[in-house]
């Protein structure tokens, strides 16, 4: 069997095991939280009778282990079940939330990833001179400011003062692509500013690391131009760490943007998950948790495969 196919198969099997472990952790975690879904739904207005009736209807009087296995049985048959809080089909609500999250992450990545790598290369080219310092200074500043702050500042200037883009990023299916992009313009800017520095700095560091190798010196002595050396000799050898960081940031764009979602009222998965955690709606939390875990595992798998493909030495493990 081709080593790469074998690796993918191994990783996928491990991934499934990890997902299973994650589902147990999530279930245990939500069970430890104080209060249950019936109490959270009725809130301050709960009377003992109403609580008892709601618990009975939702099947919360069953032992936790029974509830976990009945949930697992459903999942194995591809049934995510219905939300305890409002009886909606989880698969249906989740698919629109997930596609929104991916939509936002996609456009943020389309802008942020090439820009970060380009700025990284530029910083290497002008190492320790003013372009390098400006790039590092600005990107490190934006990553150090909390993202909601960047969001508020951009809303104030771009949306309220200049009236350019919408401050509310609520999108729906009846909107055209243009309208959707208009709605998510400011959140995409915020996310770009937030993830830029990490990828840019890693590109810069990885290439600088390679630049100290003997073969780069040789290339320089041969009289090759700086940009050409970086592009043809340094970059291919620096791909592995860069891809790793890019994947990490992509994963962040999918699973870690709840703050941005709240600020812009974006209907993504983060807000959806948080709402259901605070209501102890275990089936939904489980489903979201599994998807987030799968995204992480999948992106890491891709990063590993790309590293191996980019580095022949890793293809033949001893």
């Amino acid at each position: 069997m081709h080593p790469i196919v074998k690796l993918v198969a191994q990783r996928l099997a491990l991934g499934l095991l990890l997902l299973f472990a994650a589902s147990i952790l999530i279930f245990a975690g939500t069970s430890i939280l104080p209060g249950d879904v019936a109490q959270q739904i009725l809130g301050q207005a709960a009377t003992p009778e109403a609580l008892e009736n709601l618990r009975r209807e939702l099947g919360l009087n069953e032992p936790a282990v029974t509830r976990y296995f009945s949930w697992l049985g459903g999942i194995l048959q591809g049934d995510l079940g219905t939300a305890l809080t409002n009886g909606r089909d989880i698969a249906e609500s989740l698919s629109s939330r997930l596609s929104n999250t991916l939509f936002l992450a996609f456009w943020a990545a389309v802008i942020a990833v090439p820009l970060a790598i380009f700025l990284g290369l530029l910083a290497v080219r002008y190492k320790d001179r003013w372009p390098d310092k400006i790039i590092s200074g600005v990107t490190l500043t934006t990553i150090s400011i909390p993202e909601f702050m960047i969001g508020y500042v951009l809303i104030y200037w771009v949306s309220i003062k200049w009236g350019m883009f919408s401050s509310v990023a609520i999108i729906n299916d009846s909107m055209t692509l243009g309208q959707k992009l208009n709605a998510i313009a400011i959140p995409v800017m915020v996310l770009t500013l937030v993830v830029l520095a990490h990828m840019m700095r890693m590109t810069r560091a990885a290439i600088l690391n390679v630049m100290q190798s003997a073969y780069i010196e040789t290339a320089e002595l041969k009289g090759l131009g700086m940009l050409k050396i970086i592009r043809k000799h340094a970059f291919p050898n620096a791909i592995a760490p860069i891809v790793n960081v890019v994947m990490l940031n992509l994963a962040y764009l999918v699973v870690g943007v709840v703050v941005v979602e709240v600020v812009f009222a974006y209907p993504g998965m983060g807000q959806y998950l948080v709402d259901h955690v605070s209501k102890r709606d275990v089936p939904v939390v489980q489903a979201c948790g599994l998807i987030f875990a799968a995204v992480y595992i999948g992106l890491n798998l891709i990063a590993d495969i790309v590293s191996i493909l980019a580095n022949p030495r890793l293809r033949h493990p001893k």
Binding site: P34, G35, E49, N53, T85, N86, Y152, V168, I170, V262
Partner: protein
């Protein structure tokens, strides 16, 4: 001068001039701001409602876990939803009077034990069927039967028997209750076809709108019904949309940039600044909601009334209103009733902040000096953590060792409130005194969060309930208020205003102390002047 003002106010209602400009010009003509504003309101009314357009509200208090089932409604966004598609038997008007909705009239017997609601005829549900007294009965049954999960279960408890008699819906009580019609205005009790037994979350009712789209935690959309029975007064906009904006800054930004026409819950900290924006007005209404620190009177050390009094004297109410509410509120008097309630006795003396009296009562209590733990969380009420800190400071000055324990928001209502002996909390207020007292201060009340169980108080409450003579009732309520003020476990430093904001192109707004944004009816009763 009058002609000039009239002309100016017409310009405002047509949207040619902002309210702020108008008030400025009016001032130049020697008219005070209050008079100018009331002139505007008259001008807007004279213009009459404008039909059409899409009115949008940006509201906090919505989650992706929300449902359209009235029984499970507990936060503001689902409540706006209910107002769109549903209606109750009666409403409580802004002046505290009863407004007939699904009931045409209501009559009670002299002992207030039997109430007859005459149900309107020929009012269609949005599914095309006419509403009948049977639907009313089944709705009430769903909220009060053994399987009920309804938030209204508590108020339905005193009902002994319900029946349909021809066109009438008849309620019989075990003890008389002169305020029963007010209970029927509770927002959970939206009349649904077949009582909503089959599909409680279908969103079918007799309200002015039907659901167009329903994305919990994101947005809710409604379309006006052509066959609505009261289209003169409600349902002016062709479409109504509700955006769920839980983030305070997102809400104000959306209003400022014109993406929504009204927002709820303006943070008092920014209300003053926001009001300076040119295209909107901050609306603050004194209501019955209040922020409280509650002690369990049956748990040591709070079972000692001297200690309770010490704590009541040690809280600086004026400072709380200034710093926590930024002036958007009024001071409280350790009883849950204020001037917004009918039959309020304003001769009850106001408790003043007094370190000497606090120290004196503390000394009398003989407390051993161990720390008194006050639990609080951001979610208890806006500013609850800061309020607790202020309380701690002033208590310390009186020599009372108050210690703050900060709890997580998450789980606060199930783990701390009504469980721990001393914590911060809030109440939304009720339309009438009886309902407020029986919700939280009757011995048998589920939400007796101060564990105040005094037979004498219960007797007075029941006596007042059945008393038809208003003067006598007022007298009993006054005694109850005083009793709670001096012996209760409730430290009530402030009543909070409802603070919202509307764009200047919104017509038909009026202040309603029953709830935020016209008792959550602004989207269905307001219109767009530029529609």
């Amino acid at each position: 001068m009058n002609d000039q003002l009239k002309h100016l106010s017409e310009r405002v209602t047509k949207g040619l001039m902002t309210r702020r400009e108008f008030v400025g010009r009016a001032a130049a003509l020697g008219v005070t701001a209050a008079v100018a504003n009331s002139m505007l309101a008259t001008a807007a009314k004279a213009e009459g409602p404008v039909k059409g357009g899409t009115i949008k509200i940006g509201a906090s208090g919505g989650e992706s876990t929300n449902t359209q089932d009235p029984a499970l409604t507990a936060s503001e966004v689902p409540l706006y939803n209910l107002r769109h598609w549903g209606e109750t038997l009666v409403d409580v008007g802004a002046d505290g009077s009863l407004e007939m909705r699904m009931a045409e009239s209501v009559e009670g017997t002299a002992d207030a034990k039997k109430w007859v609601f005459k149900i309107r005829k020929g009012i269609p549900f949005s599914n095309g069927k006419d509403m009948t007294p049977d639907d009313v009965l089944m709705t009430m049954q769903r909220h009060s039967n053994e399987d009920s999960q309804s938030g209204a279960l508590g108020i339905m408890r005193g009902i002994e028997n319900m029946a349909v008699d021809g066109d009438n819906f008849v309620v019989e009580l075990s003890t008389g209750n002169a305020d029963l019609p007010y209970l029927m205005a509770d927002y959970h009790l939206m009349i649904q076809p077949g009582g909503g037994m089959d599909n409680p979350g279908a969103g079918i009712g007799t309200g002015p709108y039907t659901i167009e789209f329903d994305e919990p935690g994101v947005r809710h959309g409604f379309k006006r019904r052509d066959d609505y029975w009261d289209s003169e007064n409600r349902g002016h906009a062709e479409f109504s949309e509700q955006l769920v904006l839980n983030d305070a800054t997102a809400r104000t930004a959306a209003l400022q940039s014109g993406q929504v026409h009204m927002i709820n819950r303006v943070d008092p900290k920014v209300a003053g600044l926001l009001d300076r924006a040119p295209n909107l007005t901050v609306k603050s209404v004194a209501g019955r909601g209040h922020y409280v620190f509650i002690m369990h009177v049956d748990t040591a050390p709070f079972d000692n009334n001297e200690l309770r009094l010490a704590l009541k004297y040690a809280i600086n109410r004026e400072e709380m209103v200034d710093k926590i509410l930024r002036g958007y509120g009024s001071i409280g008097n350790d009883m849950p009733i204020n001037g917004s309630y009918p039959l309020f006795d304003d001769t009850i003396p106001q408790r003043e902040f007094s370190l000497e009296k606090a120290a004196e009562h503390y000394k009398k209590s003989g407390h051993d000096g161990s720390p008194i733990i006050l639990r609080t969380a951001d979610g208890a009420f806006p500013g609850a953590v800061d309020a607790a800190a202020l309380f701690q400071q002033s208590a310390q000055a009186a020599g009372i060792p108050l210690e703050i324990k900060r709890e997580p928001n998450d789980g606060y209502w199930s783990e701390v409130w009504n469980v721990q002996p001393f914590c911060a909390s809030y109440w939304g207020g009720r339309p009438v005194q009886d309902q407020m007292y029986s919700t939280a201060y009757l011995s048998t009340a589920d939400w007796n969060d101060t564990r105040f169980k005094v037979p004498e108080f219960d007797e007075m409450l029941l006596a007042a309930r059945a008393e038809i003579d208003e003067a006598k009732r007022k007298d009993i309520y006054s005694k109850m208020g005083r009793m709670l003020r001096d012996e209760g476990g409730l430290i009530l430093p402030m009543f909070n205003d409802f603070v919202g904001a509307i764009g200047n192109n919104v017509g038909g707004y009026y202040d309603d102390p029953n709830g935020p944004l016209m008792n959550n009816k602004a989207p269905i009763k307001c219109w767009l002047t530029d529609a």
